[in-house]
């Protein structure tokens, strides 16, 4: 059976407080693509990726994840979402390892208690994810005391730990220094064959990894190009 594409949005419309944030966006992301969503601040980049995941409701049009509308989609273990930042919440400390380990939650069945889960596989996946982003030696540290770039790597490691097929990253390079950007690029290079949708201001060291870019402006796709030497499909 041929899989439906990871994401397919047709005439996507998002409205907030009477203002159109996204207007008539058509976007199809094929498996294996590394798509960069570019555009100025307020263009609707984050809203677009959240709408693709069903985190922001559509006021018009439709969107599907692997052929199912987000509300009826059940294969969430195939999706790894990397938010823009690590929320502080009420300030309860959390170790790097605890954050990364929570990426395994989507893999456990909804009603099977955590205590009966496959702990060895969980541990191994978390160890691998921490090693990929180069934070193994910080695993026991408090995540909120790390630098912005390191926190970003923690969030990526959380998605990696879930071993998904698709990564959706909201500004993984925003406010990240050059060294951490390079570490990020290395981590992403290890995702060969996976589908990636990432929001970015500028590509920087990620550029060689991107197979296609689209540019948003005021909620519309104004430019879509395949990157140099792109492999599609």
């Amino acid at each position: 059976m041929k899989d439906a594409p990871p994401f397919a949005m047709t005439s996507g419309l998002v409205r907030r407080d009477g203002r159109d944030i996204l207007t008539g966006v058509d976007l199809r992301v094929e498996a294996g693509e590394v798509l960069a969503v570019l555009g100025p601040n307020g263009a609707g980049k984050s809203t677009l990726v959240k709408a693709l995941l069903g985190l922001v409701p559509l006021a018009g049009g439709r969107t599907e994840i692997y052929g199912a509308p987000p509300a009826r989609f059940r294969g969430w273990r195939r999706i790894g979402y990397v938010p823009q930042r690590l929320p502080m919440g009420g300030g309860v400390p959390v170790t790097v390892r605890e954050v990364v380990a929570s990426g395994r939650v989507a893999r456990t069945s909804r009603w099977r208690p955590a205590v009966l889960g496959d702990r060895a596989a969980d541990r191994a996946a978390v160890d691998r994810a921490l090693a990929t982003v180069g934070l193994t030696d910080r695993a026991r540290d408090s995540a909120h005391l790390l630098s912005g770039g390191q926190q970003q790597r923690v969030l990526i490691a959380r998605a990696l730990a879930g071993e998904p097929d698709v990564f959706v990253m909201d500004e993984p390079t925003a406010g990240v220094d050059a060294r951490n950007q390079a570490a990020l690029a290395t981590a992403l290079r290890g995702l060969a064959g996976k589908t990636v949708v990432l929001v970015a201001h500028e590509l920087g060291p990620l550029e060689p990894l991107i197979t296609r870019t689209i540019e948003l402006e005021r909620g519309r796709v104004v430019d879509g190009t395949a990157a140099r030497g792109a492999v599609t499909g």
Binding site: I79, P83, R110, A114, L145, S147, D177, A178
Partner: protein, 301 residues
């Protein structure tokens, strides 16, 4: 200390104190992380209507409080999910309605001010073995829920959008944590009283997070602080003839003050160690900002 063990009600109350000390901070850790520190307070107000109903119908006030506060917790979550802006006021309406309804129902049922007072501020001399069994059963339920759904609840309280993108039943889990908080309120209300119950869910967590690095560590430390303040507060109140609820809460607050004082040098040292490890970083600007933010928030919490 030995003297009080001669009294049966004190033996029962001490076991209760241990159960309360374990469960309240465990649930409280999730509430603090979700920025719902005052949720317990609100549920406490609503529970009073349940007490009033129980007294009015001459059934069990504890059962009434349990049913009404769980329903109230579900209502709060529904209101929170439905409207972002109106939620704040809607919650306030629910809280005051609960408190006023409780007082009216109690007096309509012919209850005296004293019986109301015992639920508002706790009264351990009146607890019975039956109460203890009920509390033990409820405490086991709360701890089982945390053991079974801890991972999911952790992700929910950490980042609701990530939890949704992980396919977690966010609405169910939100109701579950609120209902668990409601059950915890009922557990603690006999000993500590409805108006102060929430303090034992929050203050030990606030104290623990001054000293710990991780979520699990914070929860375990908060539970230890909870048991310590509940047992010591109860013993102290027996010794010096003070009301137990306020004694327990003041002790927990004292632990918080000590933790803040003791935690500051610990955090400084840790922050210094972090900076040292990052000397290679060419642009440490954002990192420094984050660190200062985090510290301020921890202190604020």
């Amino acid at each position: 200390m030995n003297g009080m063990l001669h009294y049966e009600f004190m033996r029962i109350a001490l076991v209760m104190a241990v159960l309360i000390g374990l469960t309240a901070p465990a649930v409280g850790t999730f509430l603090v992380q979700r920025r719902l520190s005052l949720l317990g307070d609100g549920i406490g107000h609503i529970a009073l209507t349940g007490i009033g109903l129980g007294l009015l119908t001459s059934t069990s006030p504890v059962l009434g409080a349990l049913v009404v506060s769980v329903l109230g917790a579900v209502a709060i979550e529904v209101v929170r999910a439905r409207s972002r802006s109106g939620a704040d006021v809607a919650l306030a309406l629910l809280f005051y309605g609960g408190l006023a309804g409780g007082v009216i129902l109690t007096s309509a049922g012919g209850g005296s001010g004293a019986s109301l007072q015992s639920y508002l501020f706790g009264s351990i001399t009146s607890v019975t073995t039956t109460d203890l069994y009920v509390v033990a059963g409820l405490a086991a339920t709360v701890l089982a829920i945390i053991a079974l759904f801890g991972r999911e609840l952790f992700l929910l309280c950490q980042d609701e959008e990530v939890a949704r993108a992980a396919g977690l039943p966010v609405r169910f889990l939100s109701v579950l944590i609120a209902a668990t908080a409601a059950v915890t309120i009922v557990i603690a209300m006999r000993a500590i009283g409805l108006l102060l119950v929430s303090a034992l869910m929050i203050v030990p967590v606030a104290a623990a997070q001054q000293l710990t690095r991780g979520f699990r560590g914070t929860m375990l430390a908060a539970m230890a602080i909870g048991v310590l303040s509940a047992v010591a507060g109860l013993a102290g109140s027996f010794q010096y003839d003070l009301p137990p609820g306020p004694s327990i809460v003041l002790l927990a607050l004292a632990v918080f003050v000590v933790a803040v004082a003791g935690g500051t040098p610990v955090r400084r040292r840790r922050a210094r160690a972090d900076t040292a490890g990052e000397d290679l970083s060419p642009a440490s600007g954002p990192g420094v900002e984050t660190r200062v933010d985090a510290e301020a928030e921890v202190l604020g919490g």
